[in-house]
Amino acid sequence: MSRKGTIGRKEEYTAFGMLVLFLFFFLVFKFYPLISTFAISFLDRNSLRNAASTTFVGFSNYRTVFTNEATLQAFGRTFLYSGMYTLFTMSTCLVLAMLLNKEFRGRTVVRTFFYMPYVTNLIAIGVVWNYLLNPYRGPVNRMLLALGIPEGRLPLWLGSNTSALATAAAIHTWVGLAFPVITLLAALQQIPRSLIEVSELEGATSFQRLRYIIIPFLRPTLIFVLTLTIINSFKTYTVIMALTEGGPGTATQVVSLQIYADAFKYFRLGVASAEGVILTIIIFIISLWVRRGDNDEA
């Protein structure tokens, strides 16, 4: 078992034997669909039948994506959604983690409450939020009415063109908060107590403590959380299907729903695949760019 030097043949064989099943399933069920999506994006496919004729059309599908009003708007909405989700999540998760890190009676139970939305079914969440946010009779607006907001100015939440996307992003944030909060809580507990105590002796304000001790210490974790939040912000299909199905009108028609519509409603399968490829490339670029911030410091 030499640490350096050549890698043992036998060890490599064992490694291969242990990896082979996982790699097989990965290649067949994860990698191939990706390659195949890429391939279909260059074909002129317009039928769901397997034997349908396929002609190579070069970048024509990509041209369609970039010139079609509906697809461009879907990409615009996706960015807007992603930006809002990331903003909502990042602005709340550190504060919540710090609050939940403090001692108080019943902390374990309250933490459980915060984690609960994360494990529940998005479709069920869609049902209940549609009920709660019903613009005319739902409990949320009834409460706002009781607080004195005039009937004509009550928000329509998921029911209006202007607020549906933001409302969906907010509900998605509520669902996903547990992951960043738990991750940051774990990181907060790694901060040496002595560091905090010294800062208290030196008379640092809590803002200074946050700025000069906590945030620098949490930086790698914050970047990790940010990366995952951004990646998650693009996984929108189920959330939007559960909340609005793309409506009202096309107000929440994000790219993943556009892919579905192009594929299974309009049978423009090449265009749908091109949208998938573009979205994937965009996510890659953004994640790599965020990650780069990680390497700068290290």
């Binding site: 403090k102 049902v127 738990i182």
Partner: protein, 270 residues
């Protein structure tokens, strides 16, 4: 003075926590009402009724959906353990060429949302004759990289000395995996089983797209059909939702420790 502010803080945290679960509370409360009283306040006194639950449970396919879901969840978890544990051991302990590149490639795949490949998978699953069978859900679950990373993280914590002791003993890596690593990682494996259960149970997109017969459907997409075809009967929809989330919440509350450990472990290493 100190004490008072602490009391206030505790109260605020409890209020925030209760707000977080308010949707679930109202889901249960309203699902126990006749449909005429849905939009009355949550405090409005109503004699609870199970009629909405009865409507869900007596749906001709309800039992099918439950059995299908349990079948898919259990088979996926068992197979996933067989596929993932050895692979995680190889990455955590063995040295082989291209291991770093391979892991990086696997990790990159985490960035691809599954909805981007729905078209190619639709054709592909039809070609493989997986369409409309439980295997269309089970097989793609087996190589989820998230679980591989989780187990690598835990296996790296096992002291190397134990490997050396095992190799002096003359036993190979497979034996080390089965006799040392797996028994030492029961909490990690519990984490993996818990996450798998929750994620597969809640999966909507794949069964929605690739299972077409209503009697072969799983619970989560079936809930969506309930919403679409069940008319506007809100308490029935809420009862269906409650049925779908209550097993998960019970499982989660009773195993929360593993859940938190799992997320913490995946985060600390980044």
């Amino acid at each position: 003075m100190m004490k008072r502010s602490h009391l206030l803080f505790t109260a605020v945290m409890w209020i925030l926590g209760l707000l977080m679960i308010y949707p679930f509370v109202s889901m249960v409360v309203i699902s126990l009402r006749p449909s005429g009283l849905v939009y009355k306040s949550i405090w409005y006194p109503v004699i609870p009724t199970l009629i909405n639950y009865k409507k869900v449970v007596t749906h001709p396919n309800f039992l099918n959906w439950c059995i299908n879901t349990l079948y898919v969840v259990i088979i996926s978890i068992v197979f996933r353990l067989f596929v993932t544990l050895p692979a995680a051991y190889a990455f955590a302990r063995l040295r082989f060429r291209f291991s770093g590149v391979l892991l990086a490639l696997l990790m990159a795949s985490l960035m691809v949302p599954s909805e981007t490949t729905m078209v190619s998978r639709y054709f592909y699953y039809k070609t493989l004759h997986l369409f409309d069978t439980p295997w269309v859900i089970i097989l793609p679950e087996l190589s989820e990289v998230f679980y591989l990373l989780l187990m690598i993280q835990f296996f790296r914590l096992v002291p190397r000395e134990l490997n050396e002791a095992a190799s002096i003993d003359g036993s190979g890596h497979w034996r080390a995996l089965v006799q040392i690593f797996i028994p030492l990682s029961t909490p990690a494996i519990a984490t993996m089983v818990l996450f798998s259960f929750i994620n597969i149970w809640n999966n909507f997109l794949d069964p929605y797209l690739f299972i077409s017969s209503i009697e072969r459907q799983l619970l989560t997409p079936a809930l969506k059909f309930f919403q679409e075809h069940g008319g506007a009967n809100i308490p029935v929809q809420l009862a269906g939702s409650a049925i779908a989330i209550i097993p998960i919440i019970i499982l989660f509350v009773s195993t929360q420790k593993y859940f938190v450990e799992g997320i913490s472990a995946s985060g600390l290493k980044g």
